[in-house]
């Protein structure tokens, strides 16, 4: 296990390096830097002053290594636009995104497995068709449109749910309000992963219930409930766990759109601000953090995987 973790740690360092190189060079070489978003009436001298103040007159390579040098000490620089430390700005927003994505994963996994199992066991029947059809709809309808329609229905017409914001926090926090604010964003964000989990569960379950050990379980005198939900589901879960690891990056990019629709002040809205303001340090900081989140969540998925499937336990 320790060897496995060390191995993964090494891989993660390399991955982080590659991701930061690509991002850093891409944003710095793209036309229009921070000066491009200055007021129209700023003079060339003023623009030059800004470039020098921000150190953008240095070659990109020099700047990259300077950035890496600071980053390894935990200093991700200062935001160009707000003069606050990047780390602080991210730390302020990250919890909201984690909230959103964690709830979405929990909801999608539970709902996805239930719907997938129903779909598999009722193969070819009405329930299966309804679930399949809804999955296709969920996958193909753009989430920004669906989000607006939900707002129209639940906030404007029915007035049941708040249309935007993260709800009262701190001293005014109340659980009901929190859930009400989370409901629509979670639902919309889950359309990016839920259909995949449903379809994966369905095919995985169908494959497993025709296995020989299912027949063995029945021949022992197991109740049909035990056959399906202990013997079959436990095996069907294995590939589902690995697909969750694959879906996490998609979830994070989906969060950008979802947060924008619902005014959810997480890292998704922050990255839009950063990109619009050509805020290089902030963009880099968010990239690093998101990459870390993906790496860590995939590591967690692999550890869970090895717990569920005894055949991979001695993988290290």
């Amino acid at each position: 296990m320790i060897r496995f973790l060390l191995n993964r740690f090494g891989q993660s360092i390399i991955l982080l390096f590659i991701v930061t190189v690509i991002t850093f060079f891409l944003i710095n070489l793209a036309p229009g830097g921070p000066t491009g978003v200055m007021r129209m009436d700023a003079s060339p001298d003023e623009r030059q002053a800004v470039i020098e103040r921000l150190g953008l007159d240095q070659p990109v390579i020099v700047r990259y290594f300077e950035w890496v040098g600071n980053a390894v000490t935990g200093d991700l620089g200062t935001s160009f636009n707000s003069s606050e430390a990047v780390v602080e700005r991210i730390a302020e927003r990250l919890p909201y995104t984690m909230e959103l994505t964690v709830f979405t994963i929990i909801f999608s996994v539970i709902a996805g497995i239930i719907l997938g199992v129903i779909s598999a066991l009722k193969r070819g029947k009405a329930a299966d068709h309804v679930i399949n059809f809804s999955s296709v709809i969920g996958l193909s309808v753009p989430s920004f449109w669906l989000g607006l329609m939900l707002i129209l229905l639940f906030s404007v017409e029915l007035g049941w749910l708040p249309s935007s914001g993260v709800g009262p926090r701190g001293a005014d926090f109340d659980f009901g309000g929190w859930m009400a604010h989370l409901a629509m964003p979670v639902l919309i964000l889950s359309t990016t992963v839920l259909p995949n989990i449903v379809r994966f569960t369905r095919s995985s379950m169908l494959e497993v219930i025709s296995q020989n050990y299912i027949r063995t379980a029945r021949s022992k005198g197991a109740k049909e409930f035990v056959v399906l939900y202990v013997h079959a589901l436990r095996n069907a879960m294995i590939p589902i766990i690995s697909i969750i690891g694959v879906l996490i990056p998609r979830l994070l990019s989906g969060a950008v759109i979802t947060e924008a629709i619902f005014g959810w002040t997480g890292i998704g809205t922050l990255i839009i601000e950063a990109a619009n303001g050509r805020d290089y340090p902030l963009i880099m900081g968010i990239t690093v953090v998101i990459t870390l989140v993906v790496i860590i969540s995939n590591l967690l998925v692999d550890i869970i995987y090895s717990q569920v499937d005894p055949r991979v336990k001695n993988m290290a």
């Binding site: 050990y213 021949s219 022992k220 005198g221 049909e224 499937d309």
Partner: protein, 339 residues
């Protein structure tokens, strides 16, 4: 103890309903070992799955006939009622030991599960019993094995575990569906030896399904020869080997390799292949491959009839047996050139 009569089991296939087992009758006495022998596709596995009422879970259906176990009719039982019989009264071991065990549970968990479905034991007691069962089936280091997963064991060991699971509740009838087919020859011999030992010590009936008549010869009291979903011959093992009453049985016996054969001599085989389920010939199903077949064989299906101590389904039993006793008879028989 087990009495199967006129069993018809079929599957809903792409081109309509197919009858994999078509009117099979036989019985098994207490303490008796009966082998069902036949080629692949003869319906022998479906017969065993019908007795366990497991065919329903695999798109199959028992159409008609009766399966009587200890005087109780099994075909009309609900799944819940069958559940109490499966594993407790009738147990089954399967052909594929490599895939028959659930990969995510330990050997111990899987044996304990089988024990506790039919016996209200505590986990700890059941574990001790599982250890005894593993010792009974001849696995070394049973304590370690209990904590291992199926992938850590070899095929032969897994089949022993399957047997331990099957024996968990002291069944009165053990159905072994090609238990050694997937194993290599030395392991096959060990498993057969184990079955023989269990048969003698545990006082249970065994229904052994095999395509290998040699395996049947070693273990069984009686042999049922099946072909294309029908019973061809049922006879005491010694009788059957002494004088087969059905041309198909003879073909099977002749295709056993002999130590006395000359080098380079070809092993006799039965010409042709078993008919597919949707293209059953009219009349006797073996007729197209039978060198004794006459017009009648191609038109009318022979019923399973008592001939002395055995049952045979052949229109020409007398001529056929006579031809074997008196070799000259066969040479002069004009019937032979018909095919």
């Amino acid at each position: 103890m087990l009495k199967v009569e006129g069993l018809v089991t079929g599957y809903q296939g792409k081109d309509g309903f197919v009858r994999a087992v078509d009117g099979v009758s036989f019985d098994i006495e207490k303490g008796e070992t009966v082998c069902i022998v036949g080629e692949s596709g003869s319906g022998k596995s479906v017969t065993s799955m019908s007795v366990m009422r497991l065919v329903e879970f695999e798109n199959g259906e028992i159409i008609s006939g009766s399966i009587e176990y200890m005087g109780e009719e099994l075909t009309t039982k609900t799944n819940e009622e069958m559940r109490k019989i499966r594993g407790a009264e009738i147990s089954m071991i399967f052909q594929e030991p490599l895939t028959a065990l659930n990969p995510v549970f330990t050997i111990g968990q899987q044996i304990v599960e089988a024990i506790r479905y039919h016996e209200p034991l505590k986990k700890k007691e059941a574990m001790d019993k599982a250890e005894d069962l593993l010792t009974l089936v001849g696995l070394s280091e049973p304590k370690t094995r209990l904590k291992q997963y199926p992938h850590e064991l070899s095929g032969g060991m897994r089949q022993r575990v399957m047997i331990a699971i099957a024996l968990a509740s002291k069944p009165k009838l053990l159905i072994a569906d090609e238990p050694t087919t997937a194993l290599d020859v030395t392991i096959e011999a060990q498993i057969l030896e184990l079955l023989r030992k269990l048969r003698n010590e545990e006082d249970m009936s065994i229904m052994l399904i095999t395509h290998d008549i040699g395996v049947a010869a070693e273990l069984s009291h009686r042999i049922i020869i099946m072909y294309a979903g029908k019973v061809m011959e049922i006879a005491e093992t010694s009788d059957l080997f002494e004088l087969p009453h059905h041309p198909y049985t003879k073909g099977l016996l002749e295709s056993i390799p002999k130590m006395s054969g000359a080098r380079g001599e070809l092993l006799p085989t039965i010409e042709g292949t078993i008919p597919g389920v949707n293209q059953m010939p009219e009349g006797c199903r073996f007729a197209p491959r039978c060198s004794f077949a006459t017009e009648k064989c191609h038109q009318e299906e022979p019923p399973l009839q008592k001939v002395g101590r055995r049952d045979v389904a052949c229109w020409h039993v007398e001529e056929f047996t006579a031809s074997q006793v008196d070799p000259f008879h066969r040479k002069e028989d004009p019937v032979e050139s018909n095919s």
